[in-house]
């Protein structure tokens, strides 16, 4: 039983790059607590370490100092309850929109029929109904980003990290 409802807790997290004499500190002594149902936004100029922090929170990168706790347990490796929507969308270019989502469901052992239904449903949810068989190269930047959203939602994450998720969306879609 958890004593609080902190989903994610960052304790004195630091990230430095480079060697001793040429050190660049990207993040220093950062503390952050995210509770269930919270919506947190990080703001800052380019290069201030937003993406780095996101990678650390997701477990893609070990911080050079400090600790990441997920539901009060130290996070080792990638967090399976976390999904990221990447700044650059990163869809698999050789898979259609639908296949890009299906691959996530497939790897979680969902059989073909519900898998296809769920992928189509998710694409409809982000307003891409009818584009199931389009390849990423045939979609606009904003549409690709929406596929990225749909894919992130397919994992049913407890924590959704989004790296400049609306960068390519127009006012109406966002």
């Amino acid at each position: 039983m958890s004593i609080n409802d902190h989903i994610l807790e960052l304790k004195n997290v630091s990230q430095a790059y480079g060697s001793v004499n040429q050190r660049f500190v990207a993040i220093e002594d950062l503390n952050l607590i995210i509770d269930e149902g919270e919506f947190v936004t990080l703001l800052g100029p380019s290069g201030c370490g937003k993406s780095t922090l996101l990678r650390i929170a997701a477990g893609l990168q070990q911080p050079s100092g400090g600790m990441v706790l997920y539901r009060d347990n130290p996070l080792l490796g990638v967090n399976p309850h976390n999904a990221i929507v990447f700044q650059t969308f990163v869809l698999f270019p050789w898979l259609t929109a639908q296949q890009n989502i299906e691959v996530v469901l497939k790897t979680r052992g969902i059989p073909p029929k519900p898998r296809i239904a769920r992928a189509i449903e998710l694409l409809g949810l982000v307003g891409l109904g009818g584009f199931e068989n389009a390849y990423p190269s045939e979609l606009s930047g904003g549409m690709r980003q929406k596929v990225g959203f749909a894919r992130a939602m397919a994992t049913e994450p407890e924590l959704l990290c989004m790296d400049e998720p609306f960068s390519s969306l127009d006012v109406l879609s966002a």
Binding site: L60, V78, F92, P93
Partner: protein
Amino acid sequence: MLRVLAALILSLLWTVPVGVAIGSNAQLTSKLQPLMQIIASVPATALFPIIAIIFISLPGGLNMAAVLLMLLGTQWYLLFNIIAGATAIPQDLKDAATMLQLDRLTRWRTLILPSIFPYIITGAITSAGGAWNASIIAEYIQFRGKTFSINGLGALISEATPNGDYPLLLAATLTIILTVVIINVAIWRRMYHIAEENYHFD
């Protein structure tokens, strides 16, 4: 032709996993790359007499030796191409695959193999060319006054040359040229086209 194919398949079997392992690890790449370039620069044909002596006494020995020689000549093109391909996989795509918790098989099928596919094709085209070349040496050898040969186009060419059998030499050479051209057009160009169309990063 079967021997060229066998050499190609055998080299693919080991170069794909090894090349991907090296190419995915920047430290490993910088350490092993120079070493492998040195090993690769040893001409395969220089090693052939040794290989031939070892294998010739075995049943089907020259067959194996021929495939091995082709393998020695071809595998490096593939290996270097696959390392280059694995290095070129964008980091964010690898991150995405990690975040999405793709299992090993899915990761290979949806990320690694499609990413290196164009590089495999490029490597295989070069490799196959080298293998044909090697076949001329490998299929027909004279050793201690005895001649060992196996049936193959390469053997025909090697046999016709010292005998001055020009019609046979011409026919065999033309056949080998025609075969290679047909394979290039029918298989490799098509594969290359597929690779260019579908398996590239924007």
